[in-house]
């Protein structure tokens, strides 16, 4: 019974193939030069082994050889660099209109918030054939969202949002791991990415038990009395939020800033840093009162208030 020896990971995303082709090229170059050196050593070792009647003959240094084994590696590494960085920029560029999913990494679990509803812990259900953009936040230390089968990886840095996108191509369940050491149960911070047919995904999404993040966000919006300043026209102390998502807004300091997730998060935690033009820096900070999940829910709620040109 031949043991099923795993040699190559599954290719289950659009970028997996292109990354593997580059890896195979690098493997070929590496094996070629390794074999070259090993063979030369073996051949010279046998051919010039010390034996009576053979004395070492001096060999003058030949500049042409030195130039050769400087130029050839330079050329090869230039190819590797251009191919590698070109592919990197392409793979990192998320296509417009990708489906947004919010993911929070906290010490030793992943919580996932689908905009249209359903929260998951340690699981990520995605439709096949559609680009998905994950917005990653960390509650505590640096984690790393890594799906080997998709060849995608991105550190989740606390204090800011990082993003990662992929488009799954094959139905099935693929392993999700945390690849940046984050503490005692770092090796337990794993999960599954379940790729489903788009239709099955919609059904799965529909019958979620808990209410969608937008509704949870609205509840938070009320309980923390954000509405008092931002909603009621009469007391309009805070800038209006309806239809603002994605627009670029002029600040008191004169610079224009995109009204996106990062700006919303920054304004919740450090409100007086970038104040909208025409408003005074009177908003209190909610730093230790809202965790990353709740901030995502408030963002989901603000997004549900209609978006400007809908660019997250």
């Amino acid at each position: 019974m031949l043991i099923e020896l795993p040699f190559w990971p599954q290719q289950a995303s659009t970028v997996a193939g292109s990354v593997d082709v580059l890896s195979i090229f690098l493997t070929l170059v590496a094996s070629f030069f390794s074999f070259l050196i090993f063979l030369l050593i073996f051949f010279f070792a046998i051919r010039f082994r010390r034996r009576p009647g053979l004395t070492a003959t001096p060999v003058p240094t030949r500049l042409s050889l030195e130039v050769l084994w400087t130029a050839v590696p330079l050329g090869l590494t230039a190819v590797m660099f251009t191919w590698g960085s070109g592919l990197y920029l392409h793979n990192q560029q998320d296509p417009p209109g990708a489906m947004n999913i919010y993911v929070v990494g906290k010490q030793w679990m992943w919580t996932v918030e689908h905009l249209e509803g359903r929260r998951e812990i340690g699981e990520l259900h995605v439709p096949a054939g559609r680009p998905v953009k994950l917005i990653l936040a960390s509650q505590d230390v640096i984690h790393d969202f890594f799906i080997p089968a998709f060849r995608v990886k991105q550190d989740v840095v606390p204090g800011r949002y990082t993003t990662l996108w992929f488009e799954a191509t094959r139905i099935g369940s693929y392993r999700l791991v945390c690849a940046q050491y984050c503490g005692t149960r770092h090796s337990g911070m794993i999960g599954n990415v379940v790729v489903m047919e788009p239709q099955d995904y919609q059904n799965w999404l529909a019958n979620g038990a808990d209410d969608p993040p937008a509704k949870a966000g609205e509840r938070l919006f009320r309980t923390f009395s954000c509405a008092g300043c931002h909603e009621l026209q009469a007391t309009q102390k805070g800038p209006p939020l309806i239809g603002m998502y994605g627009k670029s807004v002029r600040m008191e300091s004169g610079e224009t800033v995109a009204f996106d997730d990062a700006y919303i998060r920054e304004s919740i935690l450090n409100p007086n840093e970038k104040v909208v033009e025409g408003y005074r820096p009177i908003m209190p900070t909610f730093r230790n009162q809202l965790n990353e999940d709740e901030i995502f829910q408030i963002i989901a709620y603000i997004r549900s208030l209609g978006a400007g040109d809908a660019k997250p």
Binding site: I37, A45, T61, F146, C178, Q180, H186
Partner: protein, 532 residues
């Protein structure tokens, strides 16, 4: 030679504890380092075996998760800061640099002894941290885990590493001044042995890199005690600032570990091929090129860490440039074998092993410098395999080769040749069996620092653990027979391998003041063609 009329040398020049613990003789300080380094090597190696035992099974069943985290942290810290960085410079460098340049001692003998004491004090701090509960932040101390969330002996270990850094600075400073100011007459730069070039380049890195590690550790200590937010994102800090400061030293540190090994290999390959090195100036200058370029590439540790893609492009390009000088060295060593008269003594086996394994280690580094591929293999076992091929396949192989090559000069005794060759082969086989499967594990997506892993990776992990036990055995044999040789080994002549170099013109073991009269150098290095 009966014990009675053994000539006066640095070993029997004076007796008693004080003569060793207060010595200012660079040769005795080298032996003090040799003993302390071997102890740390055994401790670090023991942790490595525990890690490999744990990874025999997919489930984490040998030790708890927290203990496993402490094991790989301690393995990393002890092996890097207490074995690999000091090994060749402090033992072979201290012993041989004055001998090779015809000097009576290093420029600052008192600083040299102080460097050993600082190393020991740093070691005591770190071992104290190990004994009283260990530290579980990984040898990289990434914040905010190390500065806020970890609750193990971070401060004690950080102090240990901070102190040991000064030992490295003092050694580097000593070497630079000695090589500049105390060369024998006629010994111009282009006649220097490549061992000296390699140690000169290493010392530049030690002097210019280590302080930045010292300041990043100081900032962790400050942040951990006052929580003022330097690396804490909640207070406006940026965790990536620590990564930049840390890797600014820690990448050149890997060149501190490998460059001396390259110097040793250049000496061994020329001696056992009875030939001048091929392309002397190229090999010498590529040591300096590695030292200089080594400081520009640290960003390739941070391609997926949230650093900007622009920085990723810059660092990826520079990382490819630093691979070129290493390639030049490998090609020149191989070309040196051509038309030589090669004998396969143990040092030569270690040197040839070094060239082969360092080539694989270097070429796999290209995967990690290529942006698109690094996204997939970063922080996986591919990285572990890459740097162990360089560190264990390269630096440790060269260290063992150098110890064997200069053992007659250091101790006046010859090691048993047959046993040495067997041990070299065992080490080569055990090493490859341990670390080659890890390339596959890495590409398959097994993350590093994992206490438990999915079942389908078990095959490769079992092979790796088997290899580790062979490797462990391979390292024990030399320790045994080298100790044995101190008493029973054949007494060595002045130049048992009739190698070239000023150090081989002194008796074995050399007298306390090295040379009766300062030698005058008239020929180039490795002039094996003139002397058969």
């Amino acid at each position: 030679m009966t014990h009675a009329n053994v000539p006066e040398n640095y070993l029997n020049a004076s007796w008693g504890w004080r003569s060793w613990l207060l010595t200012r003789d660079h040769k005795r300080i080298a032996l003090l380092y040799l003993i302390s380094i071997t102890l740390f090597f055994i401790v670090g190696g023991f942790f490595a075996l525990l890690i490999r035992l744990e990874l025999l099974t997919p489930a984490g069943d040998l030790v708890q998760a927290e203990t496993y985290n402490k094991l790989f942290t301690m393995h990393g810290l002890i092996m890097i800061f207490f074995f690999l960085i000091p090994s060749i410079p402090s033992v072979l460098g201290n012993f041989l640099i004055p001998l090779m340049i015809g000097a009576r001692d290093l420029a600052f003998p008192k600083l040299n002894l102080l460097s050993w004491y600082i190393y020991i004090i740093g070691g005591v701090f770190t071992l104290a941290a190990v004994v009283t509960g260990g530290v579980d932040t990984g040898w990289t101390f990434y914040t905010p885990y190390s500065s806020t969330y970890a609750n193990s002996n971070v401060i004690l270990t950080a102090l240990g590493i901070f102190i040991t850094g000064f030992s490295s600075i003092l050694t580097g400073l000593n070497f630079i001044v000695t090589i500049h100011k105390m060369r024998a007459p006629g010994l111009t730069w282009l006649r220097l042995p490549l061992f000296i070039w390699a140690h000169y380049a290493t010392s530049l890195i030690m002097v210019l890199g280590t302080p930045v590690l010292a300041i990043s550790i100081t900032l962790i200590l400050l942040e951990r005690s006052f929580h003022s937010g330097i690396f804490d994102p909640k207070l406006g800090g940026d965790p990536l600032l620590f990564q930049h400061l840390f890797w600014f030293y820690s990448h050149p540190a890997v060149y501190i570990m490998i460059l001396p090994g390259m110097g040793v290999v250049s000496e061994i390959v020329t001696c056992y091929s009875r030939k001048k090195i091929f392309g002397y100036t190229f090999v010498a200058l590529s040591s300096l090129a590695i030292a200089a370029l080594g400081f520009l590439v640290w960003g390739h540790h941070m391609f997926v860490s949230g650093a900007s893609p622009f920085a990723g492009m810059v660092f990826s390009m520079l990382s490819f440039l630093v691979a070129i000088p290493s390639g030049i060295k490998v090609f020149n060593w191989t070309a040196t074998l051509y038309k030589g008269s090669i004998s396969f003594d143990a040092p030569m086996l270690y040197a040839l092993g070094f060239i082969g394994l360092f080539t694989i280690g270097g070429l796999t580094g290209l995967f990690l410098a290529t942006l698109a591929v690094d996204v997939h293999v970063h922080d996986t076992y591919f990285v572990i395999a890459h740097f162990h091929y360089i560190m264990v396949g390269g630096a440790v192989m060269a260290y063992f080769g150098g110890i064997h090559f200069w053992w007659p000069k250091i101790t006046g005794r010859l090691y048993p040749e047959v046993w040495a060759r067997i041990a070299a082969l065992i080490v080569f086989i055990g090493f490859n069996l341990t670390f080659f499967p890890q390339f596959l594990l890495g590409y398959l997506g097994m993350p590093r620092r994992y206490h438990a892993y999915p079942e389908e990776f078990q095959v490769w992990n079992v092979m790796s653990t088997a290899g580790a036990s062979i490797l462990g055995l391979g390292y024990l044999i030399p320790i045994i027979y080298l100790l044995w040789s101190l008493r029973y080994g054949r007494v060595a002549t002045e130049n048992p391998w009739n190698a070239m170099g000023l150090e081989w013109q002194t008796p074995s073991p050399p007298p306390e003041s090295n040379f009766a009269a300062t030698p005058i150098v008239t020929e180039e290095a490795y002039s094996y063609d003139i002397h058969t």
